[in-house]
């Protein structure tokens, strides 16, 4: 794990929170598929990296998990957003929008030779 991964972990967490807000309770595989689909298959990572991220969010109290039954009639672990998670999502989304806005402005500014 290096710095790149940390950046990825940060955005991954945001994606997870957003996914759970949109779709409600979901198991790990479902979250992974949803993120992949939403990103238009541009984003392709190992699904395995999702699980430590889920655990971390759960430890921090942003999501909660419980065992339920999945489509294939098996016991599966479902994750859902907590109240703290909802707030965190708002906060992070706002920050993310600010960052992208700044970056967008920065990148679109034309160089003006004096």
């Amino acid at each position: 794990m290096g710095d790149k991964n940390d950046v990825w972990q940060g955005t991954l967490a945001l994606m997870v929170l957003k996914t759970l807000q949109t779709l409600g309770a979901l198991h790990g595989y479902g979250i992974a598929r949803r993120i992949e689909q939403t990103s238009g298959d541009l984003l392709s990572v190992n699904y395995g990296t999702l699980y430590p991220a889920l655990l971390k969010l759960e430890q921090e109290g942003y999501i909660a998990s419980e065992w339920g039954v999945s489509d294939n009639n098996r016991k599966a672990k479902f994750y859902k957003l907590t109240r703290a998670g909802r707030k965190q999502l708002e906060r992070e989304a706002r920050e993310w929008e600010q960052t992208t806005a700044i970056l967008a402005r920065f990148l679109s500014s034309k160089e003006q030779p004096s």
Partner: protein, 885 residues
């Protein structure tokens, strides 16, 4: 906030790993199944579907591993893993574990025990506000050896007025009184204090109020504070005690309040004080040439001990010039309360602390040696771990964890040992020294032990761990099975350790040897009198009733007469202070030299006695006569002097008939004539110099000092007449009570032998431990290295070497190490023993007898520890040795 929550969750996860692993397995299996199902639906074959799903997940094991890292705290888990593994390793070799723990427990236990003395005596916390800002101020005349003397009332007043580094100063004097309140009279100890005494100390009464300004002015109404113990004992904890009246020496005092039980006298930590009264400081003409007051001061904000000392020295110099007659040579010594209270024990405790540190070092050396030997036999284990990818740091960490385990177990055992031995010592010495009450294994001591055991683990664990972990996996594994000898590196480390161990043992033995020789020398000193069957006691005769000398003399006459008529009593006399119980020094002048410069004025211990004093103590009369009943008021003034005084001031002259006079006496008053010379008595202790002593008869009402003690010689155990004496005294005056009843033998023991026996026994025990540990250590190292060489010895014997030569070969190495160790130890002792010269008596710090015998003793012991395994090695059958693995 959420981070902390995360950390707590991770900590919690350390405890139900299996359940979590199981859940994770399920979750991942389900993930794969869902993915495979999706893939099948997309038209893959079942094999492709499985493969693609696995690929996408990125490896089940890797995923699990990273989830586990997120789940717990990896470093802590490694530690716990090491701990479990360490426990298993230690259980696997119980002999090693037991020996190591026992050795370390002795070392750590001894340190814990000695530290509880240090903590109790040197680091003792005092009941006063900001106690570290309080200083004791002494009058000091270093030239004459009076480094810490009490202060004259005039000097005290000047210091108080002139110094800026002190917020305020208070003075106090020991006092004693008879408390009579309808009950039987009771002798009580007290302090006369300036009215600001408790405000300087920052101590408030637990009941009622403290002294007020002006309570110490002459003529102020008489008030008193009483101690918690007296309040409980004598006044049944009466909550309305304030305002009641008590009789001290038949004078009425109004009780202002009750002081808490935590009170101790600032100078010496004594807690046996039952009452406090304000003393009357004469503001008009305070006495300048009588030193009587203890002074305690509180540093002003921003002042330090050093600054205060500097300022006080300047003030003293000014006073020297101003009052040459009384102040010539006198300066001031400023010390902290802790310095004052632990003055005598500080050097002893520091030496003991050093000694016990040496014992621990020896214990560490032994365990380090054991670790080294074990490390050799565990080389394969480390090689395999190395081959599996553990780096050296990881192996060292594992070994240090084992060391910590050992040292913590040892600490637990050591604390038990310490608790037990501290209790033992406390029981023995508490009766004679109340300071031992503060000695216990408390939280501070336990904290010290905890820190010590961590340090210990590194001391004995780090070097062996580093050394044994540095194995080359390939080579070691290739050597498979063959017990290869230890490397040259570990060999030389062992040599250093053994030599160091010898050196430490030598240092301790020399220290103990010097103390034993000192104790022996002290017990051989002749006190100058026969203490056997002599009782001594105290009778205060304070108060207005005995203010007139004639009244006092009548009381003494009757008391001595009554005591002498008791069955079993041979002789009795009153005396100012019996030998060993104090010094009562006064200046005097002789007819030959009536006006000496102040700093050369002669002085002597001044004792007011009865006619039978010398007979009672069996002090030999060398010349002239003793006092008789005819030496009374009106007859010519007489004095008896001791041999030292005669030789010092009239060397080689016929002393009988010479004249002298106390220097405080009126000019032109009558001279005293020397009528006798008696043998010298050790006034201040067996190990003290002989001092000049001057005796005068009480019936001549000799000037101010009133005798307050008596000595009685009996035919049998003197304590048997104590009660009869008590009754006789209360028959003469029911308001008088005797106290401090003891035998002179006990006085000598307490005063001169008790502390020394304590030092000797403690340091002796430590030295014994050191010797034992180092012998065991040397023996085990030698046995081990001989056993390593069994094969080589077999080869030599098979090739025709004589046993004698082989024996010598083995012995030589051990002998060399030992000699180096002993030599270093003796040299170090030579440097270190000087530090303890204050504890020695009639023995030089470089006492050849001690050094030589310790050198021989240790060499002999080390030789034996070498010889036994060496001899065993040469006894082996060459054939067996050759096959020996």
């Amino acid at each position: 906030m959420n981070r902390l929550r995360g950390l707590l969750a991770r900590l919690g996860n350390l405890f139900h790993k299996e359940q979590l692993d199981h859940d994770l397995d399920n979750e991942l299996a389900n993930h794969l199944e869902l993915h495979i199902a999706d893939n099948l639906r997309a038209g893959m074959t079942s094999e492709q579907a499985r493969y693609a799903a696995m690929l996408k997940l990125g490896g089940i094991e890797q995923t699990k591993e990273s989830v586990r890292d997120q789940r717990g705290i990896p470093m802590l888990e490694t530690f716990l893993q090491d701990l479990r593994f360490g426990l298993r390793m230690l259980r696997k070799s119980p002999a090693f574990t037991a020996i190591a723990i026992l050795t370390l427990a002795v070392g750590i236990g001894a340190n814990t025990a000695i530290f509880s003395f240090v903590s109790g005596a040197l680091l003792r916390s005092l009941p006063y506000r900001d106690a570290n800002r309080l200083m004791i101020l002494w009058s000091s005349e270093p030239e004459r050896g009076w480094k810490k003397n009490i202060v004259s009332a005039a000097d005290f007043a000047d210091w108080r007025a002139q110094s800026k580094s002190f917020e305020d100063m208070a003075g106090y004097i020991d006092s004693a009184a008879n408390l009579s309140n309808g009950h039987e009279a009771m002798a009580v100890n007290g302090l006369e204090v300036t009215s600001n005494f408790f405000s300087v100390l920052g101590l408030t009464p637990e009941l009622g109020q403290s002294f007020r300004m002006g309570d110490d002015r002459p003529g102020a109404p008489k008030v008193a504070l009483i101690s918690h113990a007296l309040w409980v004992q004598r006044f049944a904890s009466d909550p309305a005690i304030a305002g009641k009246i008590i009789q001290l020496n038949q004078q009425s005092y109004t009780i202002l309040g009750v002081m808490p039980a935590s009170f101790v006298v600032p100078t010496d930590g004594e807690s046996d004080v039952q009452f406090w009264t304000p003393f009357e400081l004469d503001p008009v003409a305070p006495v300048r040439d009588m030193h009587a007051i203890f002074v305690v001061g509180r540093l002003a904000a921003g002042a330090t001990q050093t600054r205060a000392q500097q300022e006080m020295t300047l003030i003293a110099q000014r006073l020297q010039q101003q009052y040459r007659k009384s102040n010539a040579g006198w300066t001031v010594a400023v010390e902290t309360l802790n310095q004052s209270m632990s003055g005598n024990v500080r050097p002893v405790l520091l030496i003991l602390m050093g000694a016990v540190g040496c014992v621990l070092l020896i214990a560490c050396v032994n365990v380090a040696n054991l670790q080294l030997s074990r490390g050799v036999s565990r080389r394969r284990e480390f090689a395999i771990r190395g081959a599996l990818g553990a780096d050296r740091k990881r192996v060292v960490r594992q070994l240090l964890t084992e060391s910590i385990l050992l040292s913590f177990s040892a600490a637990a055992l050591g604390i038990l040992l310490a608790q037990w031995s501290v209790e033992l010592v406390r029981k023995i010495y508490l009766a004679t020294d109340p300071g031992f009450a503060a000695v216990r294994v408390d939280a501070r001591v336990l904290l010290f032990t905890l820190a010590l055991s961590v340090i210990t683990a590194f001391l004995f664990g780090l070097a062996p761990a580093w050394m044994t972990s540095g194995v080359n996996p390939q080579q070691t594994l290739k050597e498979s099975g063959r017990s290869s000898g230890a490397s040259a590196k570990t060999h030389s480390l062992r040599g250093v350790l053994v030599a160091g161990e010898c050196a430490l043992a030598v240092v301790l033995l020399v220290g103990a040897g010097l103390l034993i020789r000192t104790f022996d020398a002290v017990t051989r000193v002749d006190p100058g009198f026969d203490p056997h069957n002599v009782l001594s006691f105290h009778v205060s005769l304070a108060g207005p009733r005995y203010e007139a000398p004639a009244d006092r003399a009548v009381f003494y006459d009757r008391m001595v007469e009554k005591i002498k008529s008791l069955p079993g009593v041979e002789a009795a006399s009153i005396v100012t202070v019996p030998p060993f119980l104090g010094y009562n020094g006064w200046g005097f002048i002789t007819e030959e030299n009536p006006a000496p410069p102040p700093e050369e004025e002669p002085d002597a211990s001044y004792q007011v006695i009865g006619p039978e004093y010398f007979q009672t103590l069996r002090i030999p009369l060398l010349q002239g006569r003793t006092f008789t009943l005819a030496d009374r008021q009106g007859s010519a003034l007489v004095a008896i002097i001791n041999k030292t005084l005669a030789q010092k001031y009239w060397p080689g002259e016929d002393v009988l008939g010479k004249h002298l006079r106390m220097s405080t006496a009126e000019p032109n008053s009558a001279w005293m004539t020397v009528v006798g010379i008696v043998g010298d008595v050790r006034r201040l202790g067996l190990a003290e110099e002989l001092s000049p002593e001057l005796y005068v008869p009480y019936r001549q009402y000799p000037w101010m000092n009133l005798p307050r003690s008596a000595v009685v010689r009996t035919y049998a155990n003197p304590l048997l007449v104590a009660n009869a004496i008590r009754r006789s005294v209360s028959e003469i005056d029911p308001n008088e009570a005797i106290d401090s009843v003891t035998t002179m033998e006990r006085v000598i023991h307490l005063h001169s032998l008790n502390d020394r026996s304590f030092n000797m026994v403690l340091l002796g025990t430590l030295a014994g431990l050191a010797l034992l540990l180092s012998v065991v250590g040397i023996y085990s190292v030698m046995s081990y290295s001989v056993s390593q060489r069994t094969q080589e010895i077999g080869v030599r014997l098979a090739l025709g070497a004589r046993r004698k030569d082989v024996l010598w070969l083995v012995l030589r190495i051990g002998a060399k190490t030992a000699i180096i160790g002993v030599a270093i130890g003796l040299f170090a002792s030579l440097l270190l023993s000087r530090l303890m010269s204050s504890l020695l008596f009639k023995v030089s710090a470089a006492d050849p007898a001690t050094f030589i015998s310790v050198g021989i003793l240790l060499s002999a012991v080390v030789f034996l520890a070498n010889y036994i395994p060496a001899r065993r090695a040469t006894q082996v059958d060459p054939m067996v040795a050759l096959r020996y693995e």
